[in-house]
Symmetry: C2
DNA sequence: TATTGTTATACTCTATAACTATA
DNA sequence: TATAGTTATAGAGTATAACAATA
């Protein structure tokens, strides 16, 4: 008798659809990035910035799950394109915060519009099923977030 | 009156959970790759190979959605690690097919075991909800596959 | 001529570590 | 001394194009 309950065939089967969807969405994201002439990291960075709330470089590094050293280059290129802006902060002159420029805000909106729109087949599922799906995925997301080790920051915070 | 039916709030909300899940799964995949000392592309390549069916380099390029020129380097590194093998083909001497070595098969099994296991919260949803979820996601996956342009190969075939 | 895989080049991302200027 | 951001370096992925061998 196994020490851990092995998941049912149905659960594994349903989870495989999630895997397929993840692959397709990764592809969709890559396509959107290409269409807008952005790299994958640049697109992630733009999505991590809120128009209202400028973010220190180090926080962006956490969101991108990469070293602060790499963020410098990514931001350099975004800044050269006029999408973001480095700004000093009054209370601590070591810190530079990142803010979206007007064009950056437009670009971000364009990205979100292309990625946030649910596929027709999803909408067609109807409110009842969608509510159940949302509830299940909520629990799954919470579990995966908790399971994530601190080192795996990956967009944390 | 809008030309296209705008999706309901509930649908957009539920779809956002899918987006969060996609992000978390991307992170999980990256973590597994790091743990096994593989790059993201190397992990994708290993997942694209079937133990029974060797794949020509060009087909792998299609599966990875990248140029054949890049596959050469990715396969070089996998071959150096003894995970895959280039083999000639009788009927066309231009072609080299890729086959998993025994160690490659073991590595692939390790990857699949770590990624295919559904989270506890997913299993806990129960057969009824999981069936509905599988049905909806099936339709969504089919739609996204169809919507994909030829250039967006991204694992096609 | 067209195709398969390789080679070459230039750019981006990543990890690591040393460096600066602040604190 | 510790922290925020930069710089430097090396390995890997990507796009593009030219190339060799084969079809």
């Amino acid at each position: 008798m196994p020490p851990v309950q092995s998941p049912s065939r149905g659960a594994v089967d349903a989870w495989r659809r999630v895997g397929e969807l993840v692959d397709l969405e990764r592809c969709r994201t890559a396509t959107v990035a290409r269409e807008l002439d952005l790299s994958a990291a640049q697109l992630l960075a733009l999505r991590a910035l809120k128009p209202e709330r400028p973010l220190p470089m180090g926080r962006l590094a956490g969101a991108l799950e990469c070293d602060k050293g790499n963020v410098t280059g990514i931001v350099d290129r975004l800044e050269r394109r006029g999408l973001v802006e480095r700004r000093p902060v009054d209370h601590d002159r070591r810190i530079k915060v990142l803010a979206l420029t007007d064009e950056g805000v437009r670009m971000q909106a364009e990205i979100e519009e292309r990625l946030q729109t649910p596929p027709a087949a999803f909408v067609a599922a109807g409110g009842d099923d969608l509510e159940r799906i949302a509830a299940v995925l909520d629990a799954v997301v919470a579990e995966l977030r908790d399971a994530r080790e601190p080192g795996d920051a990956c967009g944390a915070e």
